[in-house]
Assembly symmetry: C2
Homo-oligomer: 243 residues x 2
């Protein structure tokens, strides 16, 4: 009887995965990973070259991406069936040997694995290995600390209504916005309403070879990749007026 | 001419540092790390057993800890002198070879290194390697995802005034409070005022052999270690009504 082990892969650069994840992945005999239908998947790309030649791979293809609204019952039902199916499949696979589930970033921080975790708990031993979050990779890429002293940091999803985004952008010192993509116009409108557009940065493909970093106000496109991150750095207390 | 490289060490378990940090530390010929006067220091403890026998070590001892108020001019001046001194020293050391600065967690997330970074920028090449944050290690230790769906996460320092803590605890779905220690009574009062004390967890020494995890309401002490983390998990959207 094996375990289900979800390994956080970190922000994208394979060198930034943890020593433990790296070791688990190299010795894995069964791996599973999420991906959009027809795409190689970012998680799978990160581990390219690390896997044993005879590893069994199980791509878990999301049934829907952006065709349905998050809030629709159809979306909810399709995703629920998808997670039910894969929870049962992983449980079955774990009877013979450990199954390693690859997750970008940190699994318990907005990760899809949590929907399998909640279904598998109590049925099989499940272990989660934390990872460096995508946002850590992105703020490091900007060359500026995200928070100083007693700064308040708020993490927001770009899928939230504009009024909610604006409210939180006004109330926090440092702000990170994830799930950007087609939500970028609303995120920019909220930043503008909060008086913070000029301080905002956008990081695309953080820590990866295609990484691009710049001020959001200079960003030439109306939309961006879904995993691009928008952030406003905090500006809190620091000794001697540095900075 | 060498570089100054700040390596994030992650939450405490040496197995959770990144492959890159691990490699840099094993091959380091000069390391520096922060510690309280007279203490071995948590950063140094994490790398125990990894260092080369002939590595040169430079402990950077904070001049003050809790004797002075954060807001006092004396505290500010003492810390500013301390960072000025060590920035000059690291610059000097880097002339001969790379200097590796060890930092717990993720350096650009409330880390002390940023005060050296701001002083060294432009004078020497400085590289920062992100790490798994202490809070990621801690929420993984609770066995529950910190955020689901569109949850808003706010990170707060326990040093903030109670009214500020309460305000933010009411406004966010998921909450992480760092810098706890002697601030625990105020943090508990704020959680109570926000109606969230019953949902709060406390994690001490997350990912380390001495790790302890439990509900804050059951915590038997009035104060806790400064690096203990208090958190309230989000409870956002999930398909099929799971969890």
């Amino acid at each position: 009887m094996g375990k289900v082990i979800c390994t956080g892969l970190g922000p994208g650069d394979p060198d930034l995965m943890s020593v433990r994840s790296h070791r688990l992945i190299r010795s894995a005999r069964q791996i599973a990973h999420f991906r959009k239908a027809g795409r190689p998947g970012q998680a799978r790309r990160i581990v390219e070259g690390l896997l044993a030649a005879d590893v069994a791979e199980y791509p878990m293809e999301y049934p829907v991406t952006t065709e349905l609204l998050f809030s629709s019952p159809e979306y909810d039902a399709a995703l629920s069936d998808f997670y039910d199916h894969w929870a049962a499949r992983l449980l079955d696979l774990s009877q013979a040997d450990d199954v390693i589930v690859l997750c970008e970033g940190d699994p318990f921080f907005y990760g899809s694995f949590m929907h399998l975790y909640s279904r598998l708990s109590g049925l099989v031993e499940v272990e989660v290995v934390p990872g460096i979050t995508g946002m850590s990779g992105c703020w490091t890429a900007t060359g500026q600390p995200i928070t100083w002293g007693d700064d308040v940091l708020t993490v927001l999803m770009g899928t939230l209504p504009e009024a909610d985004l604006t409210h939180h952008m006004r109330n926090a010192d440092a702000v990170v916005v994830m799930k950007t993509g087609r939500n970028l116009p609303r995120i920019k409108a909220a930043l503008t309403a909060a008086g913070r557009l000029d301080q905002a940065w956008i990081v695309e493909s953080g820590t990866m070879p295609t990484q691009r970093v710049g001020l959001l106000a200079d960003y030439p496109h109306a939309e961006c990749g879904y995993f691009s991150i928008v952030m406003v750095h905090g500006n809190g207390r620091r000794p001697g007026g540095e900075g």
